[in-house]
Structures are given as C-alpha cells and as structure tokens.
C-alpha cells in the first residue's frame, strides 16, 4: 500500500488536498483536506447583527448570494420579520441566477475538461470532447462564458453587483424593480433558455423535463439532442460507465430551495438512496464534529459552537469540521434536492446504483438547470411592480436565528446568536462541509472519502481521471467548507 498526496487539486473552488491510500492500482482509503482557513466565524462575533449581510457573502465568491440568503434568513428569524413578497421573488431570481451560473461553470469549466485529458486519447469520442471541452481552449467556453455573463445580468438588475451584494435583506431586497427592469429580466431569461435549448441541451426544456428513464436519456442523447453538450456528457458517461464510479450511499439531504409564498420550489427533506424512500428531516439533529479538524473542541451544536483554530492538533488533517445529521454523514447538492423533490429520473439513477454516483450527480445538476430556469421565467413575470420589495421590521437586539437554505452545492446553514444587537456566536455549515467532510470521531469518512474508495487508477496514479471525475462530480467549494 502506498499513500499519494494529491494537490493542488484545481478546477474546484478553493484549496483542496487529497491523501489517497493506494492498493492494486485502486484507492482503498481517502482523506480530504482544505488547506485554507480565514476565520469568518471569528470575525463575525462582536459586530452589529446586520453586518453579517456584508461579511457573510465574502465567505465565498461563487456562492455569495447563498451566503447572503442564509445570513438574511438567520436575521429574518432573529427579527421575526415578514419579507415583502416581491422581495422574496426577486431574491429567488438572483439566487437562481447564481445557482444556474454555478451549475454551468461547474459543468463546462470544472468538470467536462477532464474528458479532454490525454489519458482518454484512445477513446473514439476524445477528439470531439477535446475540441469542445478542453480547458481554456475548447470551443464550448466561448459560448458558455457569454451565456453566463448574460445570465448574471440578472444580478446587475436585482442585486447591484455580483459577487457580494448587500441587496438581500431580512425584509426583502433593496432594489425595487421598475417596468423596464422587469422586461429586461424576462429578456435575459429568454436568452438563457435559448442557450440551454440550443447549446446545452439542444432540446426544448419541456422535453428535457419529461425524461424519466435512462432510456429517455439514451434516446435523447442519440437523437434530437445529440448536438447538445449534455448529450455529449451522457454518451461519454455511458462509454465510461460513470454510473458506477464514485458511488456513495449516504442519506441525501435538502433544506428546501427557493422558498416563496407557496412553499419551496424544491422541498426540504431526506431521501435514502438505498431504500429509495424519503425520511423525516429534523434540523435540530445537526452537529459538528471537530475530531479531525484543526479546531479546538467545544459544543457540537452549531447554535452554541465557537471556532478556534489549533494548527498543532495531532489527529487533525483539515481545517474543516465534520457535520453530521443524527450522527450520520449526509450527501447534499442538486442530486439530493431532486431526489427529495421526487424527480423521477434522479430517483431512477439512484436506484440503479443504489446510491449516488458521478453520472447521477451531473444529470441531477443538469435537470435542476431546466427546472429552475422554467421557474425563474415565472417569477420574473410575477413581480408586481406596484407592491413593495422590502418590508421594514423592528430590529431585535437579543436572540437567535438560524438560516437554512439551499446553495448551488447543497444545504447551507447559518446559526447566529445576538445579544445587545451584537453577534455573539456565528456558525456556518456549508454544503461542501457535508460532502467533503473529514472523518468523525467514529472514523466514519465523509461522502467524498467514501466515494473515492475503490476508484480504479488505471496506472495513472494521482493523475488518474477517475479521481478527478469523482472529486469534481460533487462540485466542491473548499472556501465555503472551511471559511
């Protein structure tokens, strides 16, 4: 058995280091570390509660709106504020824009370029994959980056700027939309749909959303949508059997995405991929284990915990804490949201491999793109311009608030305690915190660490594509993870 240190592991957000135990050209054990710690949970305490809105987004530049939404949700809970309906819709729209941009960036910039690697040169599909997806040079980027830029114009309209906007408030959003802006929003979403229907799926969103089986996927990918980049992915996934790569069988968790007056677009809950059934979800069961983190021990309940780094800690191998739900790891992300939501195709894929896997994670993320784009179109139309965007509420200077939301990569929670209108404690558990969790006190590895076990290296050692695919299939963000 040998041990490989893999890093810098790029095309992910932030600093990721893997330590792999190798035997028989396969991974037998994996440890994942984040090598950057900035100390947000030390910076926030002592500041006026509302300042979380300025500080929190800067945890991460790729899911900045998610951080804002979580902070605003925590403050909303603290102040018991009732947000203005328009504000909720506008915030969801901005959030959708970020999430869609993240999904696209992940697919095109982070994930697909691995298929252009020289390791695959022998494969029949490699030439096309290289031309289309090669990092920096492939043709796809020249279409997706402009499409992303255009999509993010939603931010200019609703959030002033991105990343790091102060538009998201407990009472709604700061930016009241006028008729022209509403029209522009609709136009941006039209352009985005067009991109999806011509480039990404090469098929109408409606028909994409009708796919419920692997056969549907196959006939889409070989048939009408064959020119789409998602179809290209699926054909490669079939060729490389990515359904059987990077399997993990943890419970799938969602806090519920895009909350609105009529509830969430994608509901909250748990789903067990092995039994194929939903489970009841209790946020109160969330804890953070620091056994392998460079952190001092303390209360595990995020409402009570503090964060104090200890670089010298012996068993520690990461700056990340290990979140656990009722003591178990959980996998989060689009795959969890769609599984909980009951999305047929996602559940079919989970059932086929009795767990999540590289292919299923990508498919779920792609399907979510279609679902959210359609929803966003509705939301934009539903803004009623004579109604307020931000409700004011009396501020409370004592109390607590939890903000649980779904970021692109999965479930994000902010736990905040306030006294004399200053923050006393602030804990953040990010999606990649769940997925790329280190081992816990029980030695239970996190979802990624599990998924890597058994990965075949095909003689490529640390450079093996399988490792790349598995890690990136989660769309990890290490800056969120350790903050």
């Amino acid at each position: 058995m040998s041990r490989l240190l893999v890093g810098p592991f790029n095309r992910v957000e932030g600093d990721l280091e893997l330590s792999l135990d190798i035997q028989d050209d396969a991974v037998v054990a994996a440890r994942v570390a984040t090598t950057l710690y900035r100390g947000f949970e030390q910076i926030l305490p002592g500041r006026p509660a509302m300042d979380a809105l300025a500080v929190a987004p800067r945890i991460c530049g790729i899911c900045s709106v998610s951080q804002s939404m979580a902070a605003a949700a925590a403050l909303r809970a603290l102040h018991q504020a009732e947000p203005a309906h328009n504000g909720v819709v506008a915030a969801n729209l901005a959030h959708a824009a970020e999430n869609l941009a993240d999904h696209l960036t992940h697919f095109y910039i982070f994930f697909m370029p691995d298929f252009a690697r020289a390791q695959y040169a022998p494969a029949g599909w490699h030439g096309a994959a290289e031309r289309r997806f090669k990092a920096v040079e492939g043709s796809a980027a020249n279409e997706v980056l402009p499409a992303r830029r255009r999509l993010l114009e939603i931010m200019g309209l609703l959030a002033g700027k991105w990343p790091h906007s102060l538009a998201f408030q407990p009472g709604g959003t700061t930016c009241s939309v006028d008729l022209g802006q509403k029209i522009r929003l609709i136009a941006i979403l039209r352009d985005f749909r067009r991109f999806l229907e011509e480039v990404f799926f090469a098929a109408p969103l409606e028909s994409v959303l009708e796919m419920g089986t692997v056969e549907d996927l196959d006939s889409y990918a070989e048939g009408p949508g064959a020119g789409g980049d998602f179809a290209a992915f699926w054909r490669i996934a079939r060729a490389l059997d990515l359904e059987n790569l990077g399997r993990a069988a943890n419970v799938l968790m969602s806090y519920g995405a895009y909350r609105g007056a009529q509830g969430s677009l994608l509901g909250a809950g748990l789903f067990d991929p092995v039994s194929g059934s939903p489970e009841p979800f209790d946020p109160a069961a969330i804890r953070e284990d620091v056994s392998h983190a460079f952190m001092r021990e303390g209360p595990e309940d995020p409402m009570l915990a503090r964060t104090e780094p200890d670089i010298a800690k012996a068993e520690a191998y990461s700056f990340a804490k290990a979140p656990r739900l009722g003591g178990r790891p959980a996998e989060v992300g689009a795959i969890a949201r769609l599984a909980v939501h009951g999305h047929a195709l996602t559940r079919v894929l989970l059932a086929r491999s009795q767990g999540s896997n590289v292919a299923a994670r990508i498919v779920a993320r792609s399907m979510e793109i279609a679902i959210v784009t359609r929803a966003a179109e509705e939301w934009a139309r539903s803004l009623s311009l004579d109604q307020p965007f931000c409700a004011s509420a009396p501020l409370r200077d004592e109390g607590q608030g939890v903000g649980l939301i779904e970021a692109a990569r999965g479930s994000l929670g902010h736990w905040m305690s306030v006294s004399r209108s200053k923050i006393r404690r602030y804990q953040i558990i990010a999606p990649t915190g769940w997925n790329f969790s280190p081992r816990d006190e029980q030695g239970v590895p996190g979802p990624l660490e599990q998924a890597l076990e058994g990965a075949p290296l095909q003689g490529f050692g640390a450079r093996a594509a399988s490792v790349q695919h598995i890690v990136r299939s989660f769309d990890p963000c290490m800056v969120c993870t350790a903050h």
């Binding site: 890093g7 810098p8 790029n10 570390a33 900035r38 910076i43 002033g160 102060l166």
Partner: protein, 335 residues
Amino acid sequence: MSPNPFNILWLQAGSCGGCTMSTLEYGEKGWFRELESAGFRLLWHPSVSEETGEEARLALERIESGETPLHALCIEGAVLRGPDGTGLFNRLAGTGRSMLDWTQSLAARADYCVAIGSCAAFGGMAAADPDPTDAAGLQFRESDAGGALGADYRSRLGLPVVNIAGCAPHSGWIMETLSALALGALAADDLDALGRPKFIFGHLAHHGCSRNEFYEFKASAEEPSQRGCLMEHLGCKATQAAGDCNQRGWSGSGSCTRGGYACIACTSPNFEDIRDFHNTPKIGGVPVGLPADMPKAWFMVLAALSKSATPPRVRENATADHIVAMPRSERKPVE
C-alpha cells in the same frame, strides 16, 4: 495566440474566489477568447487550467526557476501570515509550502505584480478585526505600506504592486489594468498613493450615481428599497470611496447604489472594519464621513439650505420605492 504572449500566473491565496468569478464575466466572447486575442497566456489559474496536482506543481516550479518567463503575477486573496508568521493557515495543496512563501518567491520573478481585489491589496475581509489569520495585502496591511512583500518591493520592471482594489473588483478594472501593463502603458506615476491605477481610482464611487439629484437636495432614503440618497441615513460612503464604480455597469447594468444599497467603500483599506454598514454614523445630526475633501462647515450649511430648497417631487420620490412624482412636463419650448 500571439507570438510573444504576455504570461500571466494567477494564484489564489486567502481568497473567496470572487475576484475570479468577476473576471469570468469579462469579454464579449468570454474571458478565454479575450485572453487569447489580447495576447495573454494564462500559465496557470487554479479555477480554469487543465493542469492539476503534479502537472501544476511542475508548471509553478518552471516559473519559480525562471525557465518560464513571468510577466504578471496575479494574486487573488489576502496573504495569511499566521499562525505566528508561518503562513500555515494557507498552504498550497500538494506542495507543502505556504502561499506566503510561494508569493514571495514568485514575486521576485515577476515583471509586474498585481494584487487582484482588496484582499490581495490591503488584506480585505480576511484582515477584519480581530484578524484571526494575520492577513495582509501584498504591499499594504490595511492602509499601511508593508504587507507580504514589504514596502520596498518592486517588480522586475520597477513597479510597486499594482493594486486592483475592490471586493470583488469590476472585471473591467482587472482586465484593463492587465492590458495596460501588457501595453507598457502603466507607469508608477499612473498609480495613486495606495498603488491603485489612477484611471480607475481617481474617481469617486459617487460619480455617476443615479441618486445624485436626491443627494443634491439631501433628500434621503430612510429605508432600504427607497429611491433617495443613501448617504444621510443608510451608510453610503461613495462620496469618500475611490473607484469609477457608478460609471461602469456591474453584471450588466448594476452598481451598489443602483442596487439600492450603500457603497461600503470596498475599494478602500479597512472597509472591512466598518461597523453598522447599513447606517450612517452621525454626530449632532451631521454624518461623520463627509465627502472627500469637503470642509465640514460647508457641508452643514449647504445641506441645511438645500434641504429647504428641495422640490416636492424630489422629496416625495426620496422615500418612495418607485417614482411617485413626475418632473413637470416640458410644455414650453426649451431654451
């Protein structure tokens, strides 16, 4: 790719990745296309390059050894010097070395050294009180010269660190500055006292704010989402903040104040230590942070007078979230 590309190495230190996200919005046909046609070569960038692990380490070593010429070293994120000067809060994965170490070593090789964002320039949010990681900018710690490379550092072509402040900075700030460097069009004299390019930071964020008429009459928004000026009550610092922020479209057509919220002077050292971002601190009813170079007494008198002069239209719209009062129609010939 041009025959003599301008080689850029982009590394992320104590960064949130937001500067890169902003940059990815640049370019009519996307950033990669733009880099290529502008004659830039991206030696490596952690978010977009193919090379990973060992391949990436080799690339860095070739640069460090001088084998690959390095025209611009771009650092995104604060350099974390803690704990105790070890830099261990931020190791470059797989290399066993801190980013502090890498930064210092590579900066010596660079024709130009560019701080991308306020973190890399001044420390930024990472350096916020109590500064848990001893975070610094490349050549400043907050507004004090020094930082990770020291006040005396000059890149190989004799420039101090070029600070593209902002959190996140506008993609245009980043790319225009890099292009200016590549053209040899940016000299030490084109930088302000904080190492920021004057062509961007010679402006104030207040320039071009669409709430200007409200400002003129000190007709102020009292709650978020109202149309009035955000300076008097809601914490807007744009009259003190350097940057042409309100003269550029952010993510299309946005800007902080157009987005309805205060400028928090994110281009300035120390912005992270503002308290109560959403409220304007006042003494005796007069805001503490006054417009740049403005004598306080004048401000008070002018503010008082202009408030009395406020036309009803402006007064009413200031506290509304959409236009409720229209300008009188031009029914007479305009002269």
